[in-house]
Symmetry: D2
Subunit: 89 residues, 4 copies
C-alpha cells in the first residue's frame, strides 16, 4: 500500500473502532436496542469504506502498473477480487 | 433486552471486537491487502449477526407481548424497524 | 396488503421490471460490461425498495393491530421477519 | 465479453427474469407478503451472481491481458470497479 492509501485507511479504521467502542458502551448502558443496531450499522459502513480504499489501492497496483506474473497467478488475483465483491454487503 | 439475548449479543460483540483488533494488527504489519479486506468483512458479518439477535429480541417484545401504545407510537416503532432493514447490507 | 401498500409496491415492481428488461437489452447489444452491472444494481435497489414497502405493511398489521395468535405462532412471525432481515443486502 | 462469460451470464439472467415473473405472479395472487419478499430476494441474489460473472470477465480482460492505455484511462477503469463494489449489497 502506498502512503496515501495507508493514511486514508488508518483514518477510516479509527472511525470504525470509535463506533464499535460506542456500540459496546451503549450495550453496557442498556441503550434502546434499535439505537444499538444503528451504531453497529455505522461501524459496518465505516469498514465498507475501509474496504473500498484498500481495494482501490490494490486495483491501482494491479491494473495501473500492469502485473508481470504468469497467467495462473493473474487468474488467482482476479478470483480474489471477485470473491471480495461477492462477500461485500 | 432479556438476559439470553444479552448473553448472545455480548458473545457476538466480543467476536466482532476480536476481528477488528486483527484488522488493525494486519494493517500495522503490512499484510496482503485482500486479506485485510477479508478480515474486515468478517467484522461486518459478526456485527450483522449482532443486529439480528437484537432485532429478534426487539420484535419479540413488540409482537409477542402486544404493545399497548397509542397508534402514533406504534407507527414510529414500525418505521424504525423498516429503517434498520433499509440500512442493512 | 392494504390498497395503498399494494399501489406503491406495484409501481416499484414495474420500475424493477423495466430496469431488468434494460439489462437484457444492454446485454444483447454488447454494452460495456460495467454499465450492465450498474443497470443490474438498479434492479436490485428497486427490489429492495419493494421489500421495504411490503415489510412496512406487514409490520403495520402485526404490530399495529396486535396479533391475537398463540405464542408459538407469534414466534414464527418474528423469526420470519428476522430471516428476511438476515438475507437482505 | 467472451463466449463462455456470455453463456453463463445469460443463464443467470434467465433465472433472475424467471424469479421476477414469479414475484409479479405472487403479488397478483395475493401471496403471503413475506413469501413475496423471499422471492424478491432470490431475484436480487441471482442478479448479484450475474454481476460477479460479468466482473470476473471484465477483470480478466483488464488484468490478464494487461491494458495498454494511458494512465488516466486506467485510473478511470479502477474507479469504475470500486464504484461497482461500493454499490454492491
Amino acid at each position: 500500500m502506498d502512503a496515501s492509501v495507508k493514511r486514508q485507511t488508518l483514518r477510516r479504521l479509527a472511525i470504525a473502532e470509535g463506533h464499535l467502542k460506542r456500540v459496546r458502551k451503549m450495550f453496557d448502558e442498556d441503550a434502546y436496542c434499535l439505537d444499538v443496531i444503528h451504531q453497529s450499522q455505522a461501524v459496518q459502513a465505516a469498514l465498507k469504506k475501509v474496504d473500498e480504499i484498500i481495494l482501490h489501492g490494490h486495483l491501482h497496483s494491479c491494473v495501473l502498473h500492469d502485473i508481470h506474473e504468469p497467467a495462473g497467478e493473474k487468474e488467482k488475483i482476479v478470483k480474489e477480487i471477485v470473491e471480495v465483491f461477492s462477500k461485500s454487503k
